[in-house]
């Protein structure tokens, strides 16, 4: 995966988190996870997990909090 795409994915995940951060707190993390589960193709989620597993640098805390609720795709 290119560096560019990775940066873009982090940016997209954080954008989603920014929206849900303003929603009632108990729904925020689930909101992020549901959104990513519904709209992100497995290779995008796989790449996100690669990044999270590598420390998750640059990801919003809400994305990290949501990670356990995001469906982890099978390894490619």
């Amino acid at each position: 995966m290119s560096h560019d795409t990775n940066t873009k994915l982090i940016y997209m995940a954080n954008q989603i988190a920014t929206f849900f951060k303003s929603q009632p707190q108990d729904e925020a993390a689930q909101g992020v996870a549901t959104h990513i589960n519904k709209y992100w193709e497995p290779r995008m989620r796989r790449q996100l997990f690669q990044h999270i597993d590598g420390g998750g640098e640059g990801l919003s805390p809400l994305v990290l909090e949501a990670a356990s609720k995001i469906k982890r795709p099978q390894a490619a």
């Binding site: 560019d4 795409t5 997209m12 303003s22 009632p24 959104h35 519904k38 709209y39 992100w40 290779r43």
Partner: protein, 959 residues
């Protein structure tokens, strides 16, 4: 087949529910109160002679032909201006009436040319018909006196004669044939609302005048053609009719331009299209049209159309013409090879919002069932995907809530980020009509669009916000409504989730959402926001109309939710005159979304993870469908650059020109091994294609389009496809080549499959559409006649959902290098990437994209009107000519994106909506500076495009 003749009742229908009974020519007639005697007579099948009356506009009473006698009343009143009354006895034919009518006709004909045999209106002339109807046999006045007919009178120049005005590319104005009935003038005022025409002079000197006695092109005329349609003689005539002659049969079909979805009669002679005439029974357009739908169909026979399939190994090779069978076999082999080599998920498809529902359905079926993945998307991705997401969350369904007729009951219209008089002209005209009747208007737009102030229309409020601050303004409006106690609590308690409302209300009531606080970054004075909020909340039926100025932002989806919040908090949902109305860009963008074009949704907006839905299709298609969402267009391009996405089938979309960040799109396409473009022309995307499959136009196939009001309209074939096959046939053959057992014989069978699998389409069939004319989905057991208005007794999702909408500034910000904000849009005469309209005479109105810039910004940079300028952003740069105007605020510049030479999308960035990846076209930080001409990039691009369009064995086609 014959010509469809629509009945002209002479005056508009009355809306009254009180019925009145009278007698006309001995027949008892019962009609609504307020109906004219003329209309009542026509209702009874009695045609009163008329020349100045038409049911498209109000009665005028000038031609003096429609006189009648009423027992017990004096004189001979005009039947068009005289309303019915209970018990009156009307005679439409008496010796006195006959004499008077014949005398009137005699006067008309005494100043009219007698070249009927060679006249273009021969066979379609109301003047001739009326002369026949009244029995005119002689003109006693002769033709030698004062007249408008002859260029010379007895050798002397006749100052009253005027030459033909042929300045408009589509119609002529021949003043010699004018009878000054004022129908054209009234059509321009009442139907179109442009007020470009008037009657100059008085008495015998009266004549129709465009603008201030200018020619039509120099006047304010927008070439909608309403005047041409209204003209009873050959004074205003389509040039195509002059050239070809009168049509002999007609077929009702649906326009393939914008999302209004106007119904037209395609009037034909054999397989030649003579003219398009808007159909009065068309419920979206009610007999009106714009310059594109009526006139701009010439692209369908343009020499640039590619009619044979073509293949090439590398995109640097010239194209090689092949047979259809070779082309299908090549694509099938390539896609199978790629999937074998790179995995099942390495290919995908893009459905077209320009094609029919049936064609779209087949492309997504090919991807899901044939390719075995969900990598299918559509150009709605780059326009209204946030509408789908936002309205889905708030109301439970991804569609506008109203029909277009609803505007006739609106008291306060709010337009946000839309320019209906350019982008959706027929709706724009219908809205302007309502505004002239007294409805109020609020416009939220960075630009002073035409509708803010135009003849007899002026917005009560124009909020000229800084691009990118939609959410801040709308949340501020909500703040005013909530804190000033203007919320419709009864509606909210009954229809919405009350605790969600309370949460939302306390959120918007926070002081930092007040107009006084947001003014600092929206640039809109607080008192304007407060005034607009109060007007919307208290002004009666409030309807919100919005466009891509809402969706094409980082916060596009949030803005749609904010709009839904405003409609709910004011109780403006579920009845005529109100609602949330997305103005859809393309003819079938609603339909393409409905048909399961999104990578996460099967037809009918059902998520691919829903087992029951998948099972429905799996049973019917005999395959397993992936329960994982596929890639969206921008994700496909990212994956292509990453090397995991290698093949794509693109039907009727030009992503290279229309999608943002052109260089990234080009890089993605260049990284693929098999790009299949299925289109009318070698579009920009085809520069990167390996296979080209020729497409067919809307005139060449059967199908349906679904417009912005969810109306499913029939598209009917009027000519044989020049390329040999309708697009659905091509997709089917391709699927067969890939081993699928598809055997649709007609698009109606595809619709039957859609109806069988998609609950909201359950009752839709071609037979039913034939019977009903058109229906608006949902159309099923519960709503057998369709659903003009949604959420009438409750929201589709149950309770309406209020959602917090926090404003987040986009990361696309101005700074010292890029100090101005660029926003993009459309112009009336051109359409989207211009592939069609650029290949018509519409280019006389807009031959190039121009950059609108405020005089202050221009002067600072030493730019004069019409100068070449360089427009640069962090993504790229291009050049175009300037247009200095105060329609844009200082700090904001604007351009259209209709021309590939400009390539405005070289400038736009890869920022996108957080929820849907809909690109942020509407905000790009730019710098503008004087320039000498095209940029290096433009020259390189031009050369590459020229190279890639070479066809082996053919001379290079000159554009």
């Amino acid at each position: 087949m014959s010509l469809i003749h629509e009945i002209d009742y002479g005056t508009p229908a009355s809306r009254s529910e009180t019925m009145v009974t009278l007698t006309i020519d001995g027949r008892e007639v019962t009609v609504p109160e307020g109906t004219s005697i003329m209309r009542a007579a026509m209702d009874a099948g009695i045609e009163v002679p008329k020349l100045c009356a038409s049911d498209m506009m109000d009665a005028f009473g000038s031609c003096r032909l429609c006189l009648v006698e009423i027992k017990g009343r004096n004189g001979m009143p005009a039947s068009c201006t005289t309303p019915v009354a209970a018990g009156i006895e009307v005679s439409t034919q008496t010796p006195r009436l006959k004499d008077v009518r014949r005398g009137v006709m005699e006067l008309y004909i005494s100043d009219h040319p007698l070249d009927c045999l060679t006249c273009a209106a021969n066979g379609d002339c109301e003047l001739q018909d009326m002369a026949g109807a009244v029995g005119l046999r002689d003109v006693r006045y002769g033709y030698e006196g004062d007249n408008h007919v002859k260029a010379r009178n007895n050798g002397e120049i006749n100052a009253k004669w005027l030459p033909k005005d042929e300045s408009n590319p589509y119609f002529t104005y021949d003043p010699a044939k004018c009878i000054v009935c004022s129908r054209c003038v009234r059509a321009c005022e009442e139907v179109q609302g442009t007020f470009a025409l008037t009657i100059g002079g008085r008495g015998f000197d009266s004549r129709v005048s465009a603008g201030m006695a200018e020619d039509f092109m120099a006047s304010e005329c927008v070439s909608c053609g309403a005047c041409v349609q209204a003209c009873p003689t050959a004074t205003l005539t389509e040039k195509s009719v002059i050239e070809i002659g009168q049509p002999e049969h007609s077929v009702v079909t649906t326009c393939a331009y914008c999302g209004v979805g106007c119904s037209f009669k395609a009037e034909m002679r054999g397989e030649e299209l003579v003219r398009m005439v808007p159909w009065k029974d068309g419920q979206a357009n009610r007999g009106h049209s714009c310059v594109k739908g009526r006139f701009a169909y010439g692209y369908s026979t343009h020499k640039d159309r590619i009619l044979n399939p073509m293949v090439r190994e590398k995109i640097s090779d010239p194209w090689r013409e092949v047979t259809w069978e070779e082309a299908y076999a090549h694509v099938a082999a390539e896609f199978r090879r790629i999937q074998y080599q790179y995995g099942r998920e390495s290919v995908g498809g893009i459905t077209s919002s320009r094609c029919t529902n049936e064609e779209t359905y087949l492309v997504q079926k090919l991807v899901r069932a044939g390719f075995g993945n969900n990598n299918v998307d559509t150009c709605a991705r780059v326009c209204h995907s946030p509408t789908g997401y936002g309205l889905g969350q708030a109301f439970g369904t991804s569609a506008g809530t109203q029909n277009f007729d609803s505007v006739e009951f609106t008291d306060v219209a709010v337009i946000i980020g839309a320019n209906p008089t350019d982008g959706h002209p027929v709706f724009g005209s219908r809205l302007k009509k309502r505004l002239r009747e007294g409805a109020k208007l609020i416009v939220i737009d960075p630009r002073r669009t035409d509708i803010v102030r135009s003849p007899h229309v002026e917005a009560a409020y124009h909020l000229p916000l800084k691009p990118g601050t939609n959410v801040a303004i709308l949340t501020s409006i909500a703040h005013v409504i909530v804190t000033e106690g203007l919320a419709d609590e009864a509606f909210i308690r009954e229809r919405c989730d009350w605790s969600e409302y309370e949460d939302w209300a306390s959120f918007v009531a926070e002081p930092y959402h007040s107009p006084e606080a947001t003014e600092a970054y929206t640039g809109v004075p607080a008192d304007l926001v407060r005034g607009a909020a109060r007007l919307f909340a208290t002004g009666g039926n409030g309807a919100i109309y919005y466009g891509l100025g809402v969706t094409e932002h980082s916060q596009g989806s949030t803005t749609v939710m904010a709009i839904a919040n405003l409609a709910m908090v004011t109780g403006n949902i579920g009845r005529p005159g109100v609602g949330v109305n997305p103005l859809r860009g393309q003819n079938n963008v609603q339909g393409s979304c409905d048909m399961g074009s999104f990578p996460h949704e099967l037809p009918g907006y059902r998520h691919v993870s829903d087992d029951a839905t998948r099972e429905t299709f799996e049973k019917l298609w005999g395959v397993e469908i992936s329960n994982e969402p596929g890639l969206r267009i921008p994700n496909m391009l990212d994956a292509a650059v990453d090397g995991t996405f290698k093949g794509i089938y693109i039907q009727g979309e030009d992503i290279l020109q229309s999608d943002p960040d052109t260089k990234h799109v080009a890089a993605g396409l260049a990284a693929m091994e098999c790009v299949v473009v299925h289109d009318l022309f070698l579009n920009e995307t085809a520069n990167y294609a390996h296979v080209f499959l020729p497409g067919s136009t809307f005139l060449e196939k059967d199908g349906t389009f679904t417009n912005a009001e969810r109306r499913i309209n029939r598209v009917r074939k009027v000519m044989t496809p020049k390329n040999g096959y309708a697009d659905w046939e091509v997709t089917q053959k391709l699927a067969q080549a890939m081993g699928m057992n598809w055997n649709y014989r007609h698009p109606s069978e595809i619709m039957d499959e859609i109806a069988a699998t998609t609950p909201s389409f359950a009752l839709v069939s071609y037979d039913y559409l034939e019977k009903m004319g058109s229906v608006q989905w949902p159309c099923n057991e519960k709503h057998p006649e369709g659903s003009p208005i949604m959420h009438v007794d409750g929201f589709v999702r149950g309770k309406g959902k209020f959602i917090r909408t926090e404003y987040v500034a986009t990361d696309e910000r101005t700074g010292p290098r890029f100090p101005l904000l660029l926003t993009t849009g459309r112009i009336l005469s051109q359409y989207n990437v211009g592939a069609q309209t650029r290949r018509t005479d519409n280019v006389v109105w807009h031959a190039e994209d121009r950059l609108e810039i405020h005089p202050h910004d221009a002067e600072q940079r030493g730019i004069r009107d019409g100068d070449w300028i360089r427009l640069a952003s962090r993504a790229g740069e291009t050049t175009l000519r300037s247009l200095i105007t105060d329609r844009v605020a200082p700090g904001v510049v604007y351009t259209t994106f209709h021309h590939p030479t400009t390539q405005a999308n070289v400038i736009t960035t890869d920022f996108s909506d957080w929820a849907t990846n809909c690109p942020e076209y509407k905000v790009t930080a730019v710098q503008v500076m004087p320039s000498n001409g095209p940029s290096d990039w433009q020259q390189d691009y031009d050369e590459q495009a020229r190279q890639s369009r070479r066809i082996a064995g053919k001379l290079e086609a000159a554009e």
